[in-house]
Protein backbone atom coordinates (compact mmCIF):
# COMPACT_ATOMS: atom_id res chain seq x y z
CA UNK A 1 0.00 0.00 0.00
CA UNK A 2 1.25 3.43 -0.70
CA UNK A 3 -0.10 6.84 0.11
CA UNK A 4 -1.85 8.72 -2.67
CA UNK A 5 0.51 11.20 -4.33
CA UNK A 6 -1.68 13.79 -5.97
CA UNK A 7 1.45 15.95 -6.36
CA UNK A 8 2.61 13.62 -9.11
CA UNK A 9 0.22 15.58 -11.33
CA UNK A 10 2.22 18.80 -10.91
CA UNK A 11 3.91 19.59 -14.20
CA UNK A 12 7.69 20.02 -14.34
CA UNK A 13 8.08 19.20 -10.68
CA UNK A 14 9.66 16.36 -8.73
CA UNK A 15 8.42 16.37 -5.14
CA UNK A 16 11.28 14.99 -3.06
CA UNK A 17 9.45 12.62 -0.76
CA UNK A 18 10.86 9.92 1.49
CA UNK A 19 10.59 7.32 -1.31
CA UNK A 20 12.76 9.49 -3.54
CA UNK A 21 15.11 10.21 -0.64
CA UNK A 22 15.68 6.46 -0.38
CA UNK A 23 16.24 6.10 -4.13
CA UNK A 24 18.67 9.00 -4.21
CA UNK A 25 20.41 8.39 -0.90
CA UNK A 26 23.92 7.81 -2.22
CA UNK A 27 23.61 10.40 -4.98
CA UNK A 28 22.69 13.01 -2.41
CA UNK A 29 25.34 11.88 0.06
CA UNK A 30 27.93 12.25 -2.71
CA UNK A 31 26.68 15.83 -3.22
CA UNK A 32 26.90 16.39 0.53
CA UNK A 33 30.59 15.46 0.46
CA UNK A 34 31.23 18.51 -1.73
CA UNK A 35 30.79 20.74 1.28
CA UNK A 36 34.45 20.08 2.09
CA UNK A 37 37.04 21.98 0.00
CA UNK A 38 39.38 18.96 -0.23
CA UNK A 39 36.53 16.84 -1.61
CA UNK A 40 35.61 19.51 -4.15
CA UNK A 41 39.23 19.48 -5.31
CA UNK A 42 39.29 15.68 -5.54
CA UNK A 43 36.02 15.65 -7.49
CA UNK A 44 37.25 18.30 -9.92
CA UNK A 45 40.55 16.47 -10.43
CA UNK A 46 38.86 13.24 -11.54
CA UNK A 47 35.08 13.22 -11.50
CA UNK A 48 34.63 9.61 -12.57
CA UNK A 49 37.09 8.25 -10.01
CA UNK A 50 35.48 10.33 -7.28
CA UNK A 51 31.98 9.15 -8.21
CA UNK A 52 33.13 5.54 -8.24
CA UNK A 53 33.76 5.80 -4.51
CA UNK A 54 30.01 6.06 -4.00
CA UNK A 55 27.56 3.14 -4.38
CA UNK A 56 25.43 5.06 -6.88
CA UNK A 57 23.79 3.56 -9.94
CA UNK A 58 25.56 4.05 -13.27
CA UNK A 59 22.60 6.14 -14.43
CA UNK A 60 22.98 8.45 -11.43
CA UNK A 61 26.71 8.80 -12.09
CA UNK A 62 26.08 9.62 -15.76
CA UNK A 63 23.53 12.27 -14.81
CA UNK A 64 26.19 13.93 -12.64
CA UNK A 65 28.93 13.68 -15.27
CA UNK A 66 26.58 15.19 -17.89
CA UNK A 67 25.30 17.80 -15.45
CA UNK A 68 21.80 16.63 -16.34
CA UNK A 69 20.16 18.60 -13.53
CA UNK A 70 16.61 17.38 -14.26
CA UNK A 71 17.92 13.84 -14.70
CA UNK A 72 19.48 13.93 -11.26
CA UNK A 73 16.13 14.93 -9.75
CA UNK A 74 14.35 12.12 -11.61
CA UNK A 75 16.86 9.65 -10.14
CA UNK A 76 16.29 10.72 -6.54
CA UNK A 77 18.47 13.80 -6.33
CA UNK A 78 17.31 16.75 -4.32
CA UNK A 79 17.93 20.31 -5.45
CA UNK A 80 19.56 21.40 -2.17
CA UNK A 81 22.03 18.56 -2.58
CA UNK A 82 22.59 18.80 -6.35
CA UNK A 83 23.12 22.55 -5.97
CA UNK A 84 26.36 21.66 -4.19
CA UNK A 85 27.61 20.34 -7.55
CA UNK A 86 26.54 23.65 -9.05
CA UNK A 87 28.43 25.54 -6.34
CA UNK A 88 31.49 23.40 -7.09
CA UNK A 89 31.12 24.37 -10.76
CA UNK A 90 30.75 28.02 -9.82
CA UNK A 91 27.11 28.17 -10.96
CA UNK A 92 24.43 30.03 -9.04
CA UNK A 93 21.02 28.68 -8.13
CA UNK A 94 19.47 30.90 -10.77
CA UNK A 95 21.83 29.57 -13.42
CA UNK A 96 20.88 25.93 -12.81
CA UNK A 97 17.22 26.88 -12.52
CA UNK A 98 17.42 28.40 -16.00
CA UNK A 99 19.03 25.23 -17.35
CA UNK A 100 16.32 23.04 -15.78
CA UNK A 101 13.59 25.10 -17.42
CA UNK A 102 15.27 24.87 -20.81
CA UNK A 103 15.64 28.64 -21.11
CA UNK A 104 18.68 30.77 -21.62
CA UNK A 105 19.97 32.72 -18.60
CA UNK A 106 18.69 35.87 -20.23
CA UNK A 107 15.19 34.50 -20.85
CA UNK A 108 14.92 33.10 -17.34
CA UNK A 109 16.20 36.28 -15.68
CA UNK A 110 13.72 38.32 -17.76
CA UNK A 111 10.85 36.04 -16.77
CA UNK A 112 11.74 36.54 -13.10
CA UNK A 113 12.04 40.31 -13.52
CA UNK A 114 8.56 40.31 -15.04
CA UNK A 115 7.14 38.66 -11.93
CA UNK A 116 8.07 35.02 -12.44
CA UNK A 117 6.25 32.07 -13.94
CA UNK A 118 2.50 32.51 -13.39
CA UNK A 119 0.59 29.77 -11.64
CA UNK A 120 -2.19 29.88 -14.27
CA UNK A 121 -1.56 27.15 -16.81
CA UNK A 122 1.02 25.50 -14.55
CA UNK A 123 -1.14 23.63 -12.08
CA UNK A 124 -1.59 20.26 -13.77
CA UNK A 125 0.19 18.04 -16.25
CA UNK A 126 -2.94 18.20 -18.40
CA UNK A 127 -2.24 21.92 -18.92
CA UNK A 128 1.23 21.15 -20.28
CA UNK A 129 0.10 18.51 -22.78
CA UNK A 130 0.03 20.88 -25.72
CA UNK A 131 3.41 22.43 -25.02
CA UNK A 132 6.00 21.90 -27.66
Amino acid sequence: MSLPKEYDDLPGTVVFDFDRARQGYHLNMFCMSLMKPENRAAFKANERAYLDKWPMTEEQKQSVLKRDWNGMLALGGNIYFTSKIAATDGLSFQQIAAIMTGSTQEQYAQMMLKGGRPVAGNRSKSEWKNRG
Partner: protein
Protein backbone atom coordinates in the same frame (compact mmCIF):
# COMPACT_ATOMS: atom_id res chain seq x y z
CA UNK B 1 8.89 35.91 33.30
CA UNK B 2 10.11 35.76 29.72
CA UNK B 3 7.79 37.01 27.01
CA UNK B 4 7.55 36.75 23.26
CA UNK B 5 6.93 40.33 22.21
CA UNK B 6 7.01 40.15 18.43
CA UNK B 7 7.36 37.96 15.38
CA UNK B 8 9.43 38.57 12.28
CA UNK B 9 9.03 36.66 9.05
CA UNK B 10 11.56 36.88 6.26
CA UNK B 11 12.63 34.86 3.26
CA UNK B 12 16.10 33.39 3.53
CA UNK B 13 17.26 33.41 -0.10
CA UNK B 14 20.96 32.43 -0.31
CA UNK B 15 21.63 34.88 -3.16
CA UNK B 16 20.62 37.72 -0.82
CA UNK B 17 23.36 36.65 1.59
CA UNK B 18 25.84 36.32 -1.28
CA UNK B 19 24.93 39.79 -2.58
CA UNK B 20 25.52 41.28 0.87
CA UNK B 21 28.76 39.38 1.45
CA UNK B 22 30.17 40.34 -1.95
CA UNK B 23 29.42 44.04 -1.60
CA UNK B 24 26.62 44.03 -4.17
CA UNK B 25 23.92 45.37 -1.83
CA UNK B 26 24.02 48.75 -3.57
CA UNK B 27 23.59 47.36 -7.09
CA UNK B 28 20.30 48.18 -8.84
CA UNK B 29 19.11 44.57 -8.70
CA UNK B 30 19.67 44.20 -4.94
CA UNK B 31 19.25 47.71 -3.60
CA UNK B 32 15.41 47.50 -3.28
CA UNK B 33 15.77 44.30 -1.25
CA UNK B 34 18.07 45.80 1.35
CA UNK B 35 16.20 49.11 1.38
CA UNK B 36 13.07 47.14 2.14
CA UNK B 37 14.62 46.12 5.45
CA UNK B 38 15.99 49.52 6.52
CA UNK B 39 13.01 50.41 8.70
CA UNK B 40 12.90 46.87 10.05
CA UNK B 41 16.51 47.17 11.15
CA UNK B 42 15.64 50.38 12.96
CA UNK B 43 12.66 48.68 14.56
CA UNK B 44 14.68 45.76 15.94
CA UNK B 45 17.58 48.01 17.01
CA UNK B 46 15.09 49.98 19.07
CA UNK B 47 13.36 46.90 20.46
CA UNK B 48 16.68 45.30 21.54
CA UNK B 49 15.38 41.77 22.07
CA UNK B 50 17.24 39.69 24.67
CA UNK B 51 16.90 36.50 22.63
CA UNK B 52 15.76 35.60 19.11
CA UNK B 53 14.23 32.22 18.38
CA UNK B 54 14.80 31.59 14.69
CA UNK B 55 12.64 28.98 12.97
CA UNK B 56 14.38 27.96 9.77
CA UNK B 57 15.27 24.98 7.69
CA UNK B 58 18.62 23.43 7.10
CA UNK B 59 19.52 22.97 3.43
CA UNK B 60 21.63 19.82 3.49
CA UNK B 61 24.22 21.51 5.69
CA UNK B 62 23.95 20.28 9.28
CA UNK B 63 21.56 17.49 8.35
CA UNK B 64 22.25 15.30 5.37
CA UNK B 65 19.97 12.37 4.60
CA UNK B 66 21.52 10.42 7.49
CA UNK B 67 19.30 12.01 10.09
CA UNK B 68 16.16 13.98 9.21
CA UNK B 69 14.51 15.47 12.28
CA UNK B 70 11.09 16.96 11.60
CA UNK B 71 11.68 19.50 14.38
CA UNK B 72 15.03 20.13 16.04
CA UNK B 73 16.23 22.73 18.52
CA UNK B 74 19.79 23.96 18.92
CA UNK B 75 20.81 23.90 22.58
CA UNK B 76 24.51 24.63 22.05
CA UNK B 77 26.36 27.72 23.29
CA UNK B 78 27.60 28.47 19.79
CA UNK B 79 26.71 27.47 16.24
CA UNK B 80 29.47 27.77 13.61
CA UNK B 81 28.64 28.96 10.09
CA UNK B 82 28.34 26.13 7.54
CA UNK B 83 30.35 25.85 4.33
CA UNK B 84 27.59 25.29 1.77
CA UNK B 85 29.92 24.64 -1.12
CA UNK B 86 31.50 28.05 -1.63
CA UNK B 87 33.03 28.61 1.82
CA UNK B 88 31.24 29.73 5.00
CA UNK B 89 29.52 33.13 4.90
CA UNK B 90 31.75 35.79 6.45
CA UNK B 91 29.35 36.49 9.32
CA UNK B 92 29.85 36.07 13.07
CA UNK B 93 29.19 32.67 14.62
CA UNK B 94 25.76 32.44 16.18
CA UNK B 95 25.70 32.40 19.98
CA UNK B 96 22.98 30.28 21.51
CA UNK B 97 21.01 30.47 24.73
CA UNK B 98 21.42 26.96 26.13
CA UNK B 99 19.46 27.68 29.29
CA UNK B 100 16.30 28.92 27.60
CA UNK B 101 16.62 26.37 24.79
CA UNK B 102 16.81 23.51 27.28
CA UNK B 103 13.86 24.93 29.15
CA UNK B 104 11.84 25.06 25.92
CA UNK B 105 12.66 21.42 25.18
CA UNK B 106 11.48 20.23 28.56
CA UNK B 107 8.30 22.24 28.37
CA UNK B 108 7.28 21.37 24.82
CA UNK B 109 8.05 17.65 25.14
CA UNK B 110 5.61 17.54 28.04
CA UNK B 111 3.20 19.33 25.70
CA UNK B 112 3.66 16.44 23.24
CA UNK B 113 6.09 18.10 20.83
CA UNK B 114 9.10 15.83 20.76
CA UNK B 115 11.86 18.10 19.54
CA UNK B 116 15.21 16.62 18.60
CA UNK B 117 17.90 18.19 20.77
CA UNK B 118 21.00 19.23 18.84
CA UNK B 119 24.08 20.13 20.85
CA UNK B 120 26.44 20.41 17.93
CA UNK B 121 25.28 22.04 14.71
CA UNK B 122 26.44 24.34 11.96
CA UNK B 123 23.91 26.83 10.67
CA UNK B 124 23.44 27.78 7.03
CA UNK B 125 21.87 30.59 5.02
CA UNK B 126 18.41 29.57 6.22
CA UNK B 127 19.28 31.06 9.59
CA UNK B 128 21.96 33.62 8.77
CA UNK B 129 20.33 35.49 5.87
CA UNK B 130 17.38 36.73 7.97
CA UNK B 131 19.89 37.82 10.65
CA UNK B 132 21.80 39.80 8.03
CA UNK B 133 18.60 41.40 6.74
CA UNK B 134 17.55 42.45 10.25
CA UNK B 135 20.92 43.23 11.86
CA UNK B 136 23.26 44.09 8.99
CA UNK B 137 26.93 43.31 9.53
CA UNK B 138 27.76 43.58 13.24
CA UNK B 139 31.00 42.20 14.70
CA UNK B 140 28.82 39.98 16.81
CA UNK B 141 25.09 39.31 16.52
CA UNK B 142 23.39 41.58 19.07
CA UNK B 143 21.67 38.81 21.01
CA UNK B 144 21.70 35.05 21.53
CA UNK B 145 19.77 32.98 18.99
CA UNK B 146 17.94 29.71 19.51
CA UNK B 147 17.73 27.84 16.20
CA UNK B 148 14.66 25.71 15.60
CA UNK B 149 15.09 23.67 12.49
CA UNK B 150 12.15 22.25 10.55
CA UNK B 151 12.33 19.59 7.87
CA UNK B 152 10.86 21.19 4.77
CA UNK B 153 13.26 19.41 2.41
CA UNK B 154 11.95 15.85 2.43
CA UNK B 155 8.22 15.52 1.88
CA UNK B 156 5.93 15.26 3.78
CA UNK B 157 6.93 18.24 5.87
CA UNK B 158 4.97 18.93 9.07
CA UNK B 159 1.49 20.31 8.54
CA UNK B 160 0.67 23.97 9.00
CA UNK B 161 -1.55 23.05 11.91
CA UNK B 162 1.22 21.12 13.62
CA UNK B 163 3.56 24.06 13.13
CA UNK B 164 1.05 26.51 14.52
CA UNK B 165 0.48 24.34 17.59
CA UNK B 166 4.24 24.01 18.12
CA UNK B 167 4.37 27.79 18.13
CA UNK B 168 1.73 27.81 20.85
CA UNK B 169 3.75 25.33 22.90
CA UNK B 170 6.88 27.46 22.47
CA UNK B 171 4.99 30.52 23.69
CA UNK B 172 3.85 28.64 26.79
CA UNK B 173 7.42 27.44 27.37
CA UNK B 174 8.90 30.93 27.08
CA UNK B 175 6.29 32.35 29.43
CA UNK B 176 7.22 29.81 32.10
CA UNK B 177 10.92 30.74 32.03
CA UNK B 178 11.74 32.57 35.23
CA UNK B 179 13.99 35.28 33.86
CA UNK B 180 12.88 38.58 32.45
CA UNK B 181 13.65 38.19 28.78
CA UNK B 182 12.06 39.86 25.78
CA UNK B 183 12.01 37.36 22.97
CA UNK B 184 11.43 37.84 19.25
CA UNK B 185 10.55 34.81 17.17
CA UNK B 186 11.50 34.58 13.49
CA UNK B 187 9.71 32.47 10.89
CA UNK B 188 11.86 32.22 7.78
CA UNK B 189 11.73 30.92 4.22
CA UNK B 190 9.15 31.39 1.48
CA UNK B 191 7.33 32.98 -0.05
CA UNK B 192 6.24 31.44 -3.35
CA UNK B 193 9.14 29.87 -5.20
CA UNK B 194 10.16 26.77 -7.06
CA UNK B 195 13.86 26.07 -7.49
CA UNK B 196 13.72 22.84 -9.42
CA UNK B 197 12.59 21.28 -12.66
CA UNK B 198 10.99 22.81 -15.75
CA UNK B 199 8.43 24.62 -13.57
CA UNK B 200 11.17 26.56 -11.71
CA UNK B 201 10.53 30.27 -11.32
CA UNK B 202 6.91 29.95 -10.26
CA UNK B 203 5.68 32.98 -8.32
CA UNK B 204 2.18 33.59 -6.97
CA UNK B 205 1.81 37.16 -5.80
CA UNK B 206 -1.93 36.78 -5.08
CA UNK B 207 -1.39 33.81 -2.79
CA UNK B 208 1.50 35.51 -1.01
CA UNK B 209 -0.45 38.73 -0.50
CA UNK B 210 -3.40 36.82 0.94
CA UNK B 211 -1.04 34.91 3.20
CA UNK B 212 0.49 38.15 4.51
CA UNK B 213 -2.98 39.66 5.00
CA UNK B 214 -4.26 36.66 6.88
CA UNK B 215 -1.41 36.56 9.37
CA UNK B 216 -3.34 39.28 11.15
CA UNK B 217 -6.84 38.94 9.68
CA UNK B 218 -7.44 35.22 9.78
CA UNK B 219 -4.51 33.04 10.83
CA UNK B 220 -6.81 30.04 11.23
CA UNK B 221 -7.40 30.03 7.47
CA UNK B 222 -3.64 29.71 6.94
CA UNK B 223 -3.40 26.80 9.32
CA UNK B 224 -5.82 24.89 7.08
CA UNK B 225 -3.85 25.26 3.84
CA UNK B 226 -3.07 21.75 2.60
CA UNK B 227 0.34 20.57 1.48
CA UNK B 228 -0.94 20.05 -2.04
CA UNK B 229 -2.23 23.61 -2.18
CA UNK B 230 1.19 24.96 -1.18
CA UNK B 231 2.91 22.78 -3.78
CA UNK B 232 0.51 23.62 -6.58
CA UNK B 233 -0.07 27.31 -5.82
CA UNK B 234 3.32 28.43 -4.46
CA UNK B 235 5.85 26.07 -6.05
CA UNK B 236 7.66 23.11 -4.57
CA UNK B 237 9.67 25.25 -2.16
CA UNK B 238 6.84 27.63 -1.21
CA UNK B 239 5.77 25.06 1.37
CA UNK B 240 8.49 26.59 3.58
CA UNK B 241 5.76 29.01 4.62
CA UNK B 242 4.62 26.46 7.21
CA UNK B 243 7.57 27.76 9.24
CA UNK B 244 5.94 31.18 9.39
CA UNK B 245 3.03 29.50 11.17
CA UNK B 246 5.29 28.45 14.06
CA UNK B 247 6.12 32.13 14.47
CA UNK B 248 2.44 33.06 14.20
CA UNK B 249 1.39 30.39 16.70
CA UNK B 250 3.92 31.72 19.20
CA UNK B 251 2.26 35.15 19.14
CA UNK B 252 -1.00 36.18 20.77
CA UNK B 253 -4.29 35.88 18.90
CA UNK B 254 -4.34 39.67 18.66
CA UNK B 255 -1.39 41.11 16.81
CA UNK B 256 -0.71 44.28 14.93
CA UNK B 257 1.20 44.43 11.67
CA UNK B 258 3.94 47.01 11.99
CA UNK B 259 5.91 46.39 8.81
CA UNK B 260 5.49 44.58 5.52
CA UNK B 261 7.70 44.23 2.48
CA UNK B 262 7.25 42.12 -0.65
CA UNK B 263 9.58 42.04 -3.61
CA UNK B 264 9.86 39.98 -6.79
CA UNK B 265 12.33 38.74 -7.83
CA UNK B 266 15.15 37.92 -5.49
CA UNK B 267 16.93 35.34 -7.63
CA UNK B 268 14.20 32.64 -8.05
CA UNK B 269 12.01 33.75 -5.21
CA UNK B 270 9.29 36.10 -4.02
CA UNK B 271 10.86 37.75 -1.01
CA UNK B 272 8.34 38.35 1.76
CA UNK B 273 8.76 40.06 5.09
CA UNK B 274 6.41 41.04 7.87
CA UNK B 275 6.70 42.18 11.47
CA UNK B 276 3.90 41.45 13.91
CA UNK B 277 3.73 42.77 17.45
CA UNK B 278 1.62 41.40 20.23
CA UNK B 279 -0.83 44.12 21.14
CA UNK B 280 -0.36 43.58 24.89
CA UNK B 281 3.20 44.74 25.53
Amino acid sequence: MARIVAGVAASHIPAVGAAWDNGKAGEPYWRPVFEGFERSKEWIAKLKPDVCIVVYNDHASAFSLEIIPTFAIGCAAEFPIADEGWGPRPVPPVKGHPELATHIVQSVVLDEFDLTVVNKMEVDHGLTVPLTLMFGQPKEWPCPVIPISVNVVVYPVPTGHRCYMLGRAIRKAVESFDKNLRVVIFGTGGMSHQLQGPRAGLINREFDTRFLDNLTRDPQSLVKISHFEYLRETGSEGIEMVMWLIMRGALDDEVREVRRFYHVPASNTALGHIILENTRR
